[in-house]
């Protein structure tokens, strides 16, 4: 049993459509590192060019925000679940480029 990383719908197209992936990882940094190694397209959505986690992406370990734990060094063990929650704005599905409208 490894650490399960759940991939949110907006990022699944960059992970080959996968909703989850499992890795052996001692902390969040390792888990996400392996995730972006396997799915290179995810890297720029999760990390800045300097390698920091983007601030519109929230990462939870077993339901707790890592910002209030040990950030990327938050330890993980077998059976833990990492959730990635990016901010979404949709109240509807606006056309790409259409004027801002209601949801």
């Amino acid at each position: 049993m490894a650490v399960k990383v759940l991939i949110p719908p907006p990022l699944r197209p960059h992970a080959g459509g996968r909703a989850a992936a499992e890795f052996a990882a001692k902390n969040v940094e390792e888990a996400l590192g392996q995730l972006t190694s396997e799915f290179a397209g995810l890297k720029r959505h999760l990390f800045t060019e300097e390698g920091r986690l983007r601030s519109f992406v929230n990462v939870y370990v077993n339901g707790e925000d890592i910002r209030y734990l040990a950030q990327e060094k938050t330890p993980t063990k077998d059976g833990d679940t990492i959730n990635i929650i990016p901010s979404i704005a949709g109240g509807a599905a606006p056309e790409n480029g259409a004027p801002l409208r209601s949801g």
Partner: protein, 394 residues
């Protein structure tokens, strides 16, 4: 329990309920958790809905049905035919009408005893504080980042709860921001994503019932706030996964260093949210790419002349099934690894639905060295408008 002031049937009273109201809300009144006291709280409540679309539809309907005494509806848009797939306040006869007004008419018909006010206006930094001040609770049913930050900041500045809901494809998020001691939107997301980085909804679409469910949860939370009952979603992010049909919860904490609601506030007025979100002008998506273009009429003329043009379709397979120009299909996301399927010595016309994705494709291919490539201006939608009306629009 003796009822309070009973006024003659049909007249309005804020201290009591008319006989008509007692009958209308009887299913509330027979619940000890609501009762006359709860119904009066609903009657005296004032709720402002930002957005009357996919989320706003169930919100407006259920809050009106529940007897919220004053509802404000903010929306500057008009009802579009494609809205009817999910914005269930509207009917076919409303297409073309201002949404706020069409929603106002529908909700007033559902419940003539409440006050419904339509604000056919865009919410801006100039009008938000003024609009919000007469209401107790603000409900965010919008669809773009600048407005979400605007709603959040205005609510924090005025000390009003912000019942937040958002959706993407099959997932929804609901929580309540702005409660005393609770987090605000900036605690969760201090910065918006740069435009173009969060996948756009253009290829996404949405099942109409998803905002129906998420908006209904927002309505439920709003009613609970008014009644003061149950445990509301302050400090909890509810994530709804429609495909798995499951809910997950995540703890939301107030960020002590939050520039808006933290211990040392650094933002004390509304800002330019478009600038904050890196967006210029009206567009929420990445700025228009400047690539060489061809109009549908031009394409038709040249094809009729027998010219050897290669049509590249960068849409998704399910879109190809709806309608196509018999182009070679390479979905945009697959283009980098399938570029070898293209012959750079041929003249290529790239198209998608509206011209945006294909512009990205042309930009990518030009940077990869393709010289004879143009974008079909306006996409297959424009082809339908200008060349062949039998091609369905979607």
């Amino acid at each position: 329990m003796a009822t309070k002031v009973q006024t003659p049937a049909g007249t309005k009273a804020t201290e009591g309920l008319t006989n008509e109201e007692i009958l209308r809300y009887s299913r509330h009144l027979i619940m000890p958790e609501v009762g006359m006291e709860g119904q009066l709280k609903l009657k005296n409540a004032k709720v402002l809905l930002i957005g009357t679309g996919g989320l706003g539809a169930p919100l407006g309907l259920y809050l009106a049905a529940a007897g919220v005494g004053k509802l404000g509806l903010v929306d500057f848009d008009v009802v579009d035919f494609t809205n009817l797939q999910r914005q269930v306040t509207f009917g076919s006869s409303d297409v073309g009408k201002p949404k706020s007004e069409a929603a106002r008419a529908r909700l007033s018909n559902l419940n003539p005893d409440i006050q419904v006010q339509a604000f056919e206006t865009k919410l801006t930094s100039e009008n938000a504080l003024e609009l919000f001040k007469d209401f107790d609770i603000i409900v965010d049913g919008t669809d773009n980042f600048p407005t979400r930050y605007l709603v959040n900041d205005a609510c924090v500045l005025l000390g009003k709860p912000n019942v937040y809901g958002s959706i993407f494809r099959f997932e929804g998020q609901v929580t309540i921001f702005g409660m005393p001691g609770g987090p605000c939107y900036r605690c969760l997301y201090p910065e918006p994503p740069p435009p173009g980085l969060v996948p756009s909804c253009a290829e996404g679409g949405v099942l109409g019932v998803l905002p129906g469910i998420v908006g209904s949860i927002q309505a439920m939370e709003t009613i609970k706030l008014i009644l003061g009952s149950g445990r509301n979603l302050t400090g909890r992010l509810l994530l709804f996964d429609a495909l798995e049909m499951g809910f997950r919860e995540f703890k939301l904490r107030k960020n002590p260093k939050c520039p808006m609601c933290g211990e040392h506030r650094t933002i004390d007025k509304l800002i330019d949210y478009y600038e904050f979100c890196g967006v210029r002008g009206e567009e929420a998506s990445a700025p228009d790419l400047k690539v060489p273009e061809m109009t549908p009429r031009e394409l038709k003329t040249r094809l009729d002349r027998g010219e050897d043009l290669f049509i590249l379709d960068v849409r998704e397979p399910h879109e190809y099934q709806i309608c196509n120009l018999r182009g070679h299909l390479i979905p945009l996301g697959e283009l980098p690894r399938r570029v070898h399927e293209l012959d750079s010595s041929r003249e290529i016309v790239a198209h998608c639905r509206s011209g945006k994705r294909s512009a990205e494709a042309v930009d990518f291919l030009r940077k990869a060295g393709f010289r004879k490539i143009v974008n079909l201006k306006g996409g297959i939608l424009a082809w339908s408008d200008e060349v062949d009306a039998s091609v369905p629009k979607y």
